[in-house]
Amino acid sequence: MALSTTESNQLVSSDQVSQNAAGSTFAEVDDREREIPAIEFRDVLLAFDDRIILNKLSFKVSKGETKIILGGSGGGKSTIIKLVLGLLKPDAGRVLVDGEDITDYNEAQMVSVRKKIGMVFQEGALFDSLSVYDNVAYRLHEQGRPEEEVEQEVRRMLRFVSLEDAIDKMPSELSGGMRRRVGIARALIGDPKIVLFDEPTAGLDPPTARTICELAMKLRDLEDVSSIFVTHEMNNLDYLCAEYAVVNEEGQVVFEREGERLCLINTKVMMMKEGHIIFSGTDERLRHAEDPYIQKFLRGR
C-alpha cells in the first residue's frame, strides 16, 4: 500500500515546503541554534546488576538528522531510546536533549522534555482500553485541550498515516501494520521535533515496512524532524539512506533516489555490538567497512 501522497499534503503544503527549502540554504547554516545537537550522549554507562548494557557510549544526533542504529538483538539499542526519554537513568555519563542536561531530572521535570519527543514503540504499545481516536488524542487530552481542536489534530495525524477510516476502531481490531501506524500518529501529535523509532518495521510485510520508512523520510525531509531509528532490518537502511522525499510541481510528495550529483548527508548509521559503538558514519562507508561482524551483519553470513 504505497502512500500515494495526496493525503500528506495536509501536513505540508507545497508553498510551505518551497519557502522552507529556500530559507534553509543559508539562513539555517547561520543559525546558532542549529549547532546544538538534538540528542547527545556523553560517556553513558549503564549496567543491570553485573551485566554492562552500554559501555561509555558517546554520540550526537544533529538537528534534522536521522541516526539509524543497527545491531543484533540484546545489543542495547532500545536502551538508548529509553535513556533519551528518561525512562531509564544512566549509571554514569550525561544525556542531553536539545542542549538540556536531563540526566538528573525527576519525573515532573521530564514532562516538559517529553513534550518535545515522539516515540514509536516496537509493537505500537497502543492503549487497549482506548479507541484509535482516544489513543492518538491521548497527549492532547492530558493537556486539557478543547475537543474541537483535538479532533482536528487527530484527523490530520491519521490522514498522515492514511488511517482516517480506522478512527473509531479499537486496537484489537487492527492489523499489526495498522497498529504500528496508529502508534506513529500518536507519537507525532503535537508536532515533536525529535522522534524515536524502536524497530518500527519488525515483523511487518515488505510493503508495509516500506510505508513506515516513507513516513520517517517525510518527517526528516519535509518536517525537519531529528530522529533515532533503531532497526536490524537492512532494507530500512536502503530506503532511509538512499531516498528522500520532495514535493513535486503538482504538490504531491514523491520519493527520489540519491544519484551521481546528490548524496544524502542527513542520515547517519551507527552500529552497536555488546554495548559498544563499532561503527559510525554514512551507509556508503558502512558497506565498505572491513570489520567481520559488520560484513556478517550486511550479508547475513
Partner: protein, 256 residues
C-alpha cells in the same frame, strides 16, 4: 539479593509508590472519572460475591455454634456470637480476601500486561505519570469501597445467621436480634471499619506494585498475578492479628 533484602526492598518500593500515589491525590492532575470507573469495577462489581460470602458465613456460624451454646443452655446468645465474630473478624477478613482474589488479581494482571506490552512506557513517554493515572484511582477506589463492602457483608451475615438460627433451630427472630444488638459495641463497629481501610491499602499497593514490576512477557503476567494474590492474602491475615491487638489497645479491651 537474598530473601530478606528482597522483602525489605519491596517494602520500601511499595511504600514509596503509595506515597507518590497519595501525593498525586493531593496535588493534581487528578483523574476523577477514572476513580469513579474503578469504584464501579471494584465496589459494585464485587457486590454479588461479597453478599453471597457474607450471608453463608453468617449462616454457617449460627449452624455450628448453636448446638454448643445449647449444651450450656445459652442458645439465646447465638445472635451475639454471630454478630460479634462477623463485625470484629470474619466480615473484614473474608471481604478483604474475596476482594484480593477478585480485584487484586485483576489489577495485577491488567497493569502487568500493560507493562509487558510497553503501554506503561508509552504512557510515561506521552507525559503521564502512571502512578497518578493508574495507581492513585485504584487505591482511592479500594479505600472507599472495601469498608462499604465490609459493612454490607456484616449486615448480610447477621441476616444469614438469623435465617439459619430461626429456620433450622427454631430460635425466635426477636431473641436473635436482641442478643446481637447487645453484643456489638460502638468500638466494634469503629474497629470493623478501620480494619478494611488498612486492608484496602495493603491489597491496592501490593497488586499495583506487582503489576507495574512485571517482567518476562505473558508468563510474567501470570506470575505477577499469583504473587500479588498470595502476598496480599498473607499480609492481610498477618496484619489482621496485629491490628486486632492494636485496636484492643487503642479502643480498650472489649467488655465481652
Amino acid at each position: 539479593m537474598n530473601v530478606v533484602t528482597r522483602a525489605i526492598f519491596e517494602l520500601q518500593e511499595t511504600t514509596l509508590m503509595a506515597a507518590r500515589a497519595a501525593r498525586g491525590l493531593i496535588r493534581g492532575p487528578r483523574y476523577f472519572s477514572e476513580t469513579i470507573a474503578q469504584m464501579d469495577v471494584i465496589g459494585v462489581g464485587s457486590l454479588t460475591i461479597i453478599l453471597l460470602t457474607g450471608f453463608f458465613t453468617g449462616g454457617v456460624l449460627a449452624v455450628q455454634t448453636y448446638p454448643t451454646l445449647a449444651y450450656w443452655g445459652q442458645q439465646g446468645q447465638t445472635g451475639r456470637l454471630v454478630a460479634v465474630s462477623l463485625v470484629r473478624e470474619l466480615g473484614p477478613v473474608l471481604t478483604a480476601l474475596m476482594v484480593t482474589g477478585r480485584v487484586g488479581s485483576a489489577i495485577a494482571a491488567e497493569l502487568g500486561s500493560m507493562t509487558v506490552s510497553q503501554q506503561i512506557d508509552a504512557m510515561r513517554a506521552l507525559g503521564t505519570d502512571p502512578i497518578r493515572k493508574l495507581v492513585a484511582p485504584r487505591l482511592l477506589a479500594l479505600l472507599v469501597s472495601l469498608p462499604l463492602l465490609t459493612v454490607l457483608a456484616d449486615c448480610v451475615g447477621i441476616a444469614g445467621g438469623a435465617f439459619a438460627a430461626t429456620s433450622l433451630y427454631g430460635l425466635s427472630m426477636n431473641e436473635f436480634f436482641t442478643s446481637a444488638r447487645d453484643g456489638i459495641s460502638a468500638d466494634d463497629i469503629i474497629g470493623g471499619v478501620i480494619k478494611p481501610t488498612v486492608f484496602a491499602l495493603i491489597i491496592g499497593t501490593i497488586a499495583c506494585y506487582k503489576g507495574l514490576n512485571t517482567d518476562g512477557g505473558t508468563v510474567g503476567v501470570g506470575r505477577a498475578t499469583t504473587r500479588a494474590v498470595v502476598t496480599a492474602s498473607i499480609v492481610v491475615i498477618i496484619s489482621d492479628f496485629f491490628l486486632a491487638r492494636a485496636l484492643q489497645y487503642l479502643l480498650g479491651m472489649p467488655a465481652n
